[in-house]
């Protein structure tokens, strides 16, 4: 009897997934999967996870498959950060008791959800505008450019234990994100999310391209370190 129920449940979940049902049923509780982007701060404060309605323009599919099976926190102070801080003796600190973990999916579910997410590409126009120039930059040069001269570390961790915590960690960005998305988002965060916490720093084309190379350097180092 138990086996029959299990088979029925599995069969059902397969059918639901095939129609992208898990996105509607489970993911939509915390993620914006239909768009449009958040238009007001009141709505931004309520966000529980990143918008996924342009996931196919943003993420690397292989990373999604792997992360969904073994999710780890990317934004140390959660989303939105202001809902997860408390006053401490030295100033604001992360209130970990308010953070919740992302559910882990089976390999089959992760593969199928990632495939569904990759179909969501409403911003092909923004992606098509971007070209990636090949190149490399040493970690040292990148650090000089992007932390001393541009200040990314104010809000982002550039190493597991170094940098700000309100934004997503940068040392895994190139593993997670498509390079054209990185370029487009740095060029104009507001084109993707009008209420993004990320400012437009008006970087030159050369610096945007260097930034991608630096993120690739950081991600490779993070991979080697694990």
């Amino acid at each position: 009897m138990k086996r029959m129920i299990l088979v029925t449940v599995l069969g059902f979940s397969g059918a639901v997934l095939a129609e992208g049902g898990m996105l509607q049923e489970s993911c939509a509780a915390c993620h914006n999967i239909k768009g449009p982007a958040t238009q007001t701060l009141k709505a931004a404060f309520e966000k529980k996870g990143p918008a996924l309605f342009y996931a196919g323009n943003k993420y690397r599919q292989e990373w999604l498959v792997s992360w969904l099976q073994k999710p780890s926190r990317i934004r140390p102070a959660g989303m939105y950060y202001g809902g997860h801080i408390k006053p401490g003796p030295k100033g604001d600190e992360i209130d970990t008791s308010t953070l919740t973990d992302h559910i882990a999916l089976s390999k089959a579910d992760a593969t199928s959800v990632a495939a569904e997410l990759m179909k969501l590409k409403p911003h092909n126009d923004l992606i098509a505008k971007e070209k990636i120039e090949s190149g490399t930059i040493s970690k040292q040069m990148g650090e000089m450019a992007f932390n001393k001269f541009l200040g990314c570390m104010a809000c982002h961790l550039i190493e597991p234990e170094y940098g700000g915590v309100s934004g997503p960690e940068l040392y895994t960005a190139a593993k997670r994100l498509q390079p054209q998305y990185i370029v487009s988002f740095i060029r104009s965060p507001q084109a993707w999310e009008p209420k993004s916490m990320m400012p437009n720093k008006n970087l030159s084309e050369v610096n945007i391209q260097k930034m991608v190379h630096y993120l690739e350097t950081l991600s490779k180092e993070a991979t080697n370190g694990h």
Binding site: Y81, I85, G151, A154
Partner: protein, 116 residues
């Protein structure tokens, strides 16, 4: 003609909605608190590794040394525009001039001070 008018009205209504102004308190909460702290004292959740400590917005002495124009410029164009830290980014693509003016007034409320 009537159709055109309706279209124009709709367009106006939409663009006003798209540029709906946020309150200075919400803008402060969204963009400033991460570094300047929930109390505005410069002790935000991001400051641990910073080489330059963010401004304490409740410090009447230092805040009264900055004109409204200087504060406006710092918010819109970033720290380096007033010879301050790169860690303060430019918010000119995030906030409208009107919202930045409102934020300047919000800072005056936090410091309980005026310029001069």
């Amino acid at each position: 003609m009537a159709t055109k008018l309706v279209f124009l009205l709709l367009l106006t209504a939409f663009s006003v909605q798209a540029q709906a102004k946020e309150t200075p308190a919400d803008n402060y909460k969204a963009y400033c608190v991460q570094c300047h702290g929930s109390e505005g004292t410069g002790k935000g959740v991001n400051v641990r590794d910073m080489s330059v400590v963010p401004r304490d917005h409740t410090d009447a002495k230092s805040m009264s040394g900055r004109s409204d124009e200087t504060l406006f410029k710092a918010i819109k164009e970033g720290g380096p525009s007033i010879d301050k830290s790169i860690l303060m980014p430019p918010w000119g693509s995030t906030l409208s001039d009107e919202e930045i003016n409102d934020l300047v007034q919000h800072l005056r409320m936090l410091c309980k001070c005026k310029f001069g």
